[in-house]
């Protein structure tokens, strides 16, 4: 089974870190993983997106996918191209605090997460992406929340150690903010805790 997940947002919103955390957590849980992150130049504020494929066998899919099983959207700005790639019934976690405009709720299973609000409560507005990542894991069981936390702690660079605690709280808060396992990624016994 190959689960393709797309993540989009504005540069600096933590999309790249978020997708790395999901990917690394999946590796920790023994999955096959492929992750492609594309960020424009380096100027703050441009579009940023990321493609993640998690599977239970070696991945044949190329790193850019035309059809995705799930998505995390931090902002409405880049929704249209993302929408075009979703398979029918795709699982979508979106940051309801920022997201404006229409979402096609019949075609996909949409979970609204007030990520920026939750993040602010947990200590930093910067951790909104963590909330969304936690929420996506919660809804799908793609990975467990402890793997997320372990992956996050390994990925945050030393000079950002002050972010560790917010991030952990944000991941866990996101995980808990959604109906657990409402859109499972794996069939029955494989489901993560």
């Amino acid at each position: 089974m190959e689960r393709e997940i797309l993540l989009t947002g504005i540069g600096g919103q933590g999309v790249q870190l978020g997708s790395s955390i999901l990917a690394r957590a999946a590796v920790l849980e023994g999955r096959q993983v492929m992750l492609f992150g594309s960020y424009g130049g380096t100027m703050r504020g441009g579009p940023t997106d990321s493609t993640l494929v998690v599977a239970d066998a070696p991945i044949a899919s190329p790193p850019i996918v035309s059809r995705a099983w799930g998505a995390l959207a931090m902002h409405h700005a880049f929704w249209a191209p993302l929408r075009a790639k979703l398979r029918p019934g795709a699982v979508v976690a979106l940051n309801a605090s920022l997201f404006e405009g229409e979402v096609d709720r019949d075609a996909c299973r949409v979970f609204d997460v007030p990520a920026t609000e939750i993040a602010t409560q947990q200590g930093s507005v910067l951790a909104a992406a963590m909330v969304l990542v936690g929420a996506f894991a919660g809804v799908t069981g793609l990975v467990g929340v402890d793997s997320l936390v372990e992956a996050m702690r390994a990925l945050v660079p030393a000079y950002r150690v002050q972010h560790l605690d917010w991030n952990e709280r944000a991941l866990r808060a996101g995980f808990d903010a959604v109906p657990r396992g409402a859109a499972p990624a794996w069939s029955g016994e494989e489901q993560a805790a």
Partner: protein, 353 residues
Amino acid sequence: MTRTLMEGSSAITEAAIAAGCRFFAGYPMTPFTELLESFARRLPESGGVCINAESELEAVGMAWGAAATGARAATGSTGQGLALMQESLSELTRAELPLVIFHMARGQSDYTQATRGGGHGDYHHVVLAPIDVHEAVEHTQLAFHLADRWRNPVHLYGDFLLAHTSEAVSIEAAEFEPLPEKDWAVDGTLGGSGRSRNVNPIGMTKGAKGIEPESFWKRLQAKHDQIAREEVRFEAEFTEDAELLVVAFGSLARFARYAVRELRRAGVRVGYWRPITLWPFPTEALAEVAEGVERVAVLEQNAGQMIDDVRLSVLGRSPVVPIGEISSDEAGFGIGPIFDLEDVRRRIQEVCT
């Protein structure tokens, strides 16, 4: 064998270090920057040297000096930067220096640059074009080996997709057949002995007056002919009974391979063929396969570059048709809309008649 999730650029760096790379120099330019950053971080930790060269010309010069001492050395860049290095790249071939060049292109429109170069004279570089991060790890080690084996520059042709794709890989030093001593390398010790070394690109022999370019160049030609015979690598699937053969290389080949497998499952008699070495291009292997097919379709992300090598292999045995095109994102980093499975499938199907 622990698997670690690594971006292509990091994986290449680790593979290079595992292969004994001790020197790296480069100048930032996307998507080579990513490689430079990871070498700058990792090489000093592992006892090597990485210099943030002030320009591409200086980078390749530094790598030249390091390689001349016998150390495993590498440099690289992307299109523009590699264009600046062309004089050095062709002359390195004549100096017979084993240098690895990370040719991190913005897409596939630097196929000709990598395989023909723009230096002067008759020369060739081995060009390896990995399809994914796993193969990039393997090719990186192979590149250092081949460079030493043939005393010739070797390119690894990657792109933005390869640099930015993370996969879980495990990196261990690969085993290769033993290599000859580098008795030609300068270590400074032979001054005054009458046998001091002279690493040069003009065919000079120490103690002899003048040079004999013709015999020197002919010797190099013979070496390149031998490489062309011995180092050809390719990958093929479903070629036995294919009516249509799809040829692609590097990152885009992964899309082609996936689409061909899908079409096969749907019963379409389509085959997949990929040159792993862009030079030497696997001409004979392709000629053989092309014998039986009705059509050869070349999928490449450019205005038509590899297609010449395909035509030179097929030589009229069957029609060769381009199914790729120029395709780019807005930043020009080479991530064009052609990197799309459905699009690739459609292109193949369109010539499936």
